[in-house]
Symmetry: C2
Subunit: 410 residues, 2 copies
Amino acid sequence: MISGVFFYQRAMPKISTKGIKMPESPIRKLVPFAEGAKRKGKTVFHLNIGQPDIKSPEVALDAIHNFSDKVVEYSHSAGFESYRKGLANYYQNVGINIDHSDVMVTTGGSEALLFALNTCLDNGDEIIIPEPFYANYNGFSISAGVQVKPITTSINNGFALPAIEEFEKLITPNTKAILICNPGNPTGYLYSKEELETLRDIVIKHDLFLFADEVYREFCYDGNTHHSVLNIEGLEQHAVVIDSTSKRYSMCGIRVGCMISKNKDVMATALKFAQARLSPPTFGQVAGEAALSTPTKYFDEVSEEYVARRDLLIEGLNKIEGVICPKPKGAFYCIAQLPVDDADKFAQWLLEDFDYNGKTLMVAPAAGFYSTPNTGTTQVRIAYVLNQEALTEAVECLEKALEIYPGRIR
Amino acid sequence: MISGVFFYQRAMPKISTKGIKMPESPIRKLVPFAEGAKRKGKTVFHLNIGQPDIKSPEVALDAIHNFSDKVVEYSHSAGFESYRKGLANYYQNVGINIDHSDVMVTTGGSEALLFALNTCLDNGDEIIIPEPFYANYNGFSISAGVQVKPITTSINNGFALPAIEEFEKLITPNTKAILICNPGNPTGYLYSKEELETLRDIVIKHDLFLFADEVYREFCYDGNTHHSVLNIEGLEQHAVVIDSTSKRYSMCGIRVGCMISKNKDVMATALKFAQARLSPPTFGQVAGEAALSTPTKYFDEVSEEYVARRDLLIEGLNKIEGVICPKPKGAFYCIAQLPVDDADKFAQWLLEDFDYNGKTLMVAPAAGFYSTPNTGTTQVRIAYVLNQEALTEAVECLEKALEIYPGRIR
């Protein structure tokens, strides 16, 4: 029998082209170097990942502590009905007029985007995304067999929406959707109502879907207003919103988000994908539903804290010679242009070869947030998710590092 | 501006062909009729879904009640390292010699299968699956752009593995994998070691992956032994196991499973898909890790209960004139052949037009578990997930229903 096996033996089965094309996370790929730095005794300031240090709301944690079911059952594939109604109420309170039947609970915003892609795009179809964009959009697109067509925005005008003509140059018969992140990860850019109306005109003219990742909705600063695509007249059948509890309530680990659209075909189709995976996580939904009662004070304090961190960070960065960093209007990230040969090498060097008083910082090289090759290679994404003291030290580290980095460009 | 919008207005954007092809869940599609029956005051015995009524282990619920982190953070994309080590230890205890680096924690067995498909198969590639099979394999295959090639097994020999020649007839240059469920949902079939060795010979000869969904591993009855594909010599680079905590610990709602393979390329590639979705649910992992300490007594009691239920159900079913139901060797489902014109119509009729003393039952029409059209149309899947009293009443309902069902075939 065994000899038969060896007689048959040929090459090992091969992984898919899709799997080969799948990018490593630019946010996580330097992790081994960070672990190495820590083994050497260095303190590493983690500005590479959007994992806030803000406490999760007590109401949410209390609901988990008091979970009283004896069997942890599947929920409805679209999520608890009570939670969907609570979510509809939340959206109404922020001025977005939707019904609970327009909302489906998902396993994080990640799954919401994957469902939106599978629902609206076929293998080989194209989606236009302003870059730099949240790096994992690449991964979800590859999973769904979708081609990303990036439209590059510039640090020189703060990553504003490109002109309508630039979009139209990219539109082909295979283009099915445009995806934006608003407020933007990694840029902190907040779209104006006029920009959203421009996007409306494009998607209606070319019969496209408009996906909007609005997970940072609550993180808008300096009195700026967030405009949801759900509130843009004429977009009712085109707009699909991706949302998440992760950042809003600093509960990244609960893996609960949602997908929202007034397009009934879209929601009915997405539900079929949801049924295949049975249900979103029960405990996460319990925490998410309870979190809807988080007092306003929580958000006010969080917002105040992020504004203080942002101001400290952006001011500090722009004081460093050769660094350019537009001031984000929302979210808790910025893209900074550094005077270095290559941000990938610099980020690795920070962890491997540098410390200032035993401390260093970890940043995410920005090239992974661009889909166009060789773009953003001297930029990094910095998440201001640490307290002000740590941020101050991290900026100081960066300044010292840039003074002695061998690949510095003047 | 608005007039411009109406000027541009064309057809609504259309959902994808993938979305249209996506099947409705055969397990859940009758839900509206069940809701209707309940509104009329009928008691409905839910034998349509594998949602056990068994209590989740207390150690797992206690861990949730005692969760003490103040921030619910992302975990490692592959899951908590401590949990992966605990899982490796669990597998070693059931005779499967793997290391924690061979295990990746996923959001349910569902995600593990989706990752396995994306890692190993490209759009248009083919996977052979003995049918009837767990209906959601269709959904995951469509999501991944993969073609299912069913190989039909017969109720007449208890759904045993078809002959090797039958497999070879289906293999083309696009065939990349075979998928089995062992013990089987929906058949309760348990593969013998010889059958697994036959599969080994096929996959090695044709350079395929062998995916095995082993989520019902603990549910093997009558002294039968479960053989994992991870223990079949020669399959090290070919075998990928899909596993889940859902049924083992009756915690379907925690959405935690895992993917296991000794093929390092497979695991490294799957990790990239895992990184895109950031992490599996934190609370579910806490419960899953704690559940590893569930006392043996729990499983003994559960197994004893399922055997009693199975015996009661299968005996009851086979006593009904015209019903054929092979005795399952594992899991907690059976496929029964009914003397009806169409099991879909019959299942709907049970809910809409029938009751016996105010009671009726809900079953899953088996056609949704076959991929070959017009197959299994007079079969149903019954999950024995209710207590013995309810099961007895449900079997009695079925008997009475078959006596008066207008579409009865003699």
